[in-house]
């Protein structure tokens, strides 16, 4: 699956950045990805974000 958008999620309790919400091109699947370097979706987000033109959306808490 090809990442379409990545948005930062914030905790309802602490207002701290807590996970990423990811959508994919031509897919109804949505992933909520933890901030864990061992998680393969987290690794994929970092690779995606490193590509010029890909930006993580941050709407704040």
């Amino acid at each position: 699956m090809i990442i379409n958008t990545v948005t930062k999620n914030y905790s309802a309790e602490t207002n701290e950045f807590c996970s990423y919400q990811v959508t994919y091109i031509n897919s109804s699947i949505v992933k909520s990805v933890p901030l864990d370097e061992a998680n393969t979706d987290y690794q994929a987000i970092q690779e995606w974000a490193a590509i010029d033109g890909n930006n993580i959306i941050d709407n704040g808490a």
């Binding site: 699956m1 999620n9 905790s11 309802a12 309790e13 807590c18 996970s19 919400q21 109804s28 699947i29 949505v30 992933k31 909520s32 990805v33 933890p34 901030l35 864990d36 061992a38 998680n39 393969t40 979706d41």
Partner: protein, 379 residues
Amino acid sequence: MAITRIGNIASTIPDDSIQNVKMSNIVQSKNILINGDMSIAQRSTSVTGITGQGYNTIDRFETHASSLGTWTQSQSTTVPSGQGFATSLKMDCTTADASPSAGDFLYVRQKVEGQNLQYLKKGSSSAESTTLSFWVRSNKTGTYIAELYDIDNNRTISNSYTISSADTWEKKTLTYAGDTSGSFGNDNGRSLDIAFWLGSGTTYTSGTLQTSWGSQTNANRAVGQVNLADSTSNEWYVTGIQLEAGSVASDFEFLPVDVNENRCLRYFYQIISKTDTNSINAYGYYYSASNIKFPTRLPTQMRSAPTLEQSIATNALRFYRDSTYDGLSANFVLDGNGSGRYVSMYNSTDASGTAGQAGHLYKYSPTQADSYIWLNAEL
């Protein structure tokens, strides 16, 4: 047959000194691979239209295809007679590609954590050899490749096997030398892939098959591999996959279903499955008027903090509370990591209620059969 090695125990037992003892009763978890009997298929028992990379049916076995046909993968009940297996993994070609481009490929593989491989002593002068055994069947006879890929050090070793008789179960045993170069990381990361090649273009076949450990060279990885994708009549079955230390293949290690399932749950767990219908799946509460929280303890420690994957038709889920309900869609969010032992998810997009009210998450109707919430910590 003299037994010279059982799992990690080195010993020599004379021929015929034991008669009725099965090796599987002596040592547990000698199989480096998980779910080798293909008995656990949490996600689905059949998936059509496979053209890419992903976990589809059998737990822990990933398909990776790149422009080489279209496939249906299923958990089949076609098994070798009299061997104790009830299920196999089946690949069925539904759109053929008789002329692969150079970079095309297809394989089925399992990825293994480095911390489960330390006893192989890879990268040391006493590195263990490993033996891969499995039952395989196909209408497509010829040469196939089974490859070990050291991800930590980018090294590979391949062995070939031959399917000699069409549509006949055959047991294959392949031994791979120990590797004195490059150790596996002692952590929960991906260290070793075991790949069953089913087809490839010349990028992976134009060299000489690398039957000794060496730096990864694409041209040497799948030399001689037949193209299973060359006809929609083609199918390939496999079961009883076991990778163990040493140069001898022992009997397949059958595990109790709860043990096998629990090993799979380390990597994948369903809060709501596709096949759940009219079911209560979780309990939660209104943390605030616009936020429902679902703290969930997991049945086992997952490999990493898991991804929450969801595909939910509009209002396919309901949160029942105080004699009413809220329709919920694919707007669940992980609130923190949980370290793989628990998760807390919330929905603040579809929620409108009273803080403090508790309730349960309910999958409403069979018409929403494909809706699910999964936790995924695969490698």
